[in-house]
Symmetry: C2
Subunit: 190 residues, 2 copies
């Protein structure tokens, strides 16, 4: 397949936005795959701030980081991403070049614990405030579960109304597939 699928395209966008030494945010640590990906992108001089409300996610990610000796460049918070602005030290405000959200529930975890539109939108607003110009927020939206459809609709409504002079908002979606496959919203701060 030549057209890039959703998760590879998410990573392509982050690779475009993030260079070695940059500051990044994983807003939904989950199983930690994206945290590790960002930790490798930013290199030993860079920084990843990761957020997840579930202890299970933080612990699983933490052991993966230890196994690869990447702990020093990552700070994990067992908090919702709506605390991003208060949690990222002020010295790093204005330096964040990439952030990622994988919405929905923790794969293999408790499916009743899901992200929600209010906190997701609050986190995006805070990130737009403290990111660097040309920094990109990549959001992967899972809308197969009922709460996911509500979250999708609220998020779409919100991002469509972000002013053109504040950010570019791109939708990247395969539109002829069954079963509500995930799609991407990418927001580039101007």
């Amino acid at each position: 397949m030549k057209l890039e699928r959703i998760l590879p395209f998410m990573r392509t966008l982050l690779e475009k936005a993030v260079s070695a030494g940059d500051v990044t945010v994983d807003a939904t640590v989950g199983n930690g795959h994206d945290t590790l990906f960002l930790a490798n992108l930013v290199g030993p001089e860079g920084k990843v701030y990761g957020f997840d409300i579930q202890e299970e996610a933080i612990q699983s990610c933490s052991s993966k980081l230890s196994a690869q000796n990447l702990n020093e460049r990552v700070s994990l918070f067992q908090k919702g991403h709506e605390h991003v602005k208060a949690s990222v030290p002020e010295k790093d405000h204005g330096k964040i070049t990439g952030a990622v959200f994988n919405l929905g529930y923790l794969p293999g975890g408790d499916k009743s614990i899901v992200t929600g539109p209010t906190t997701t939108i609050a986190a995006v607003e805070q990130l737009l405030d403290i990111m660097a110009p040309e920094g990109i927020i990549v959001i992967v939206i899972y809308h197969g579960h009922p709460e996911g459809q509500l979250e999708r609709d609220s998020l779409l409504e919100y991002v469509k109304n972000i002013k053109q002079d504040e950010a570019h908002v791109l939708q990247y979606q395969f539109i002829n597939q069954q079963n509500h496959p995930p799609f991407i919203l990418a927001i580039e701060k101007r």
Copy 2:
């Protein structure tokens, strides 16, 4: 800006799909820019078939090709793209790896002459029939004019119903801009 804009992304997709020596189609020659782009992509051993109903477009493209000595690898038809299957020689059926549509009217030309959904959809169906597997059709949709909105709606309805096992259909669109900027539908044959 790090997120690829519409026309650069169109070219990125064609570059991914098309290699030197391949057969390609410019379904809307217009001012000839994409025809030249494809002619350079396919190289001296490749082929471009170009379609436009307007003599003005064919002549303008033809002089641009002559100026760069690219005529031999391009065949221009002053015909609508709904004649693509009948016009591309049978020896090249199954070999087309890239096709492009820039819908709407000829820039700088007669704005009352526009592409229409029936012929556009007919051309896409024929292309899916005679393209190579993994060949990509890139459609740039201009929906600022009233006919453009009807064409957009018909096309979206059509592509959403292309079966998953026949093609992947990707929508690539900036969704927070004023004035109906163009967006991309990319169809990859399976």
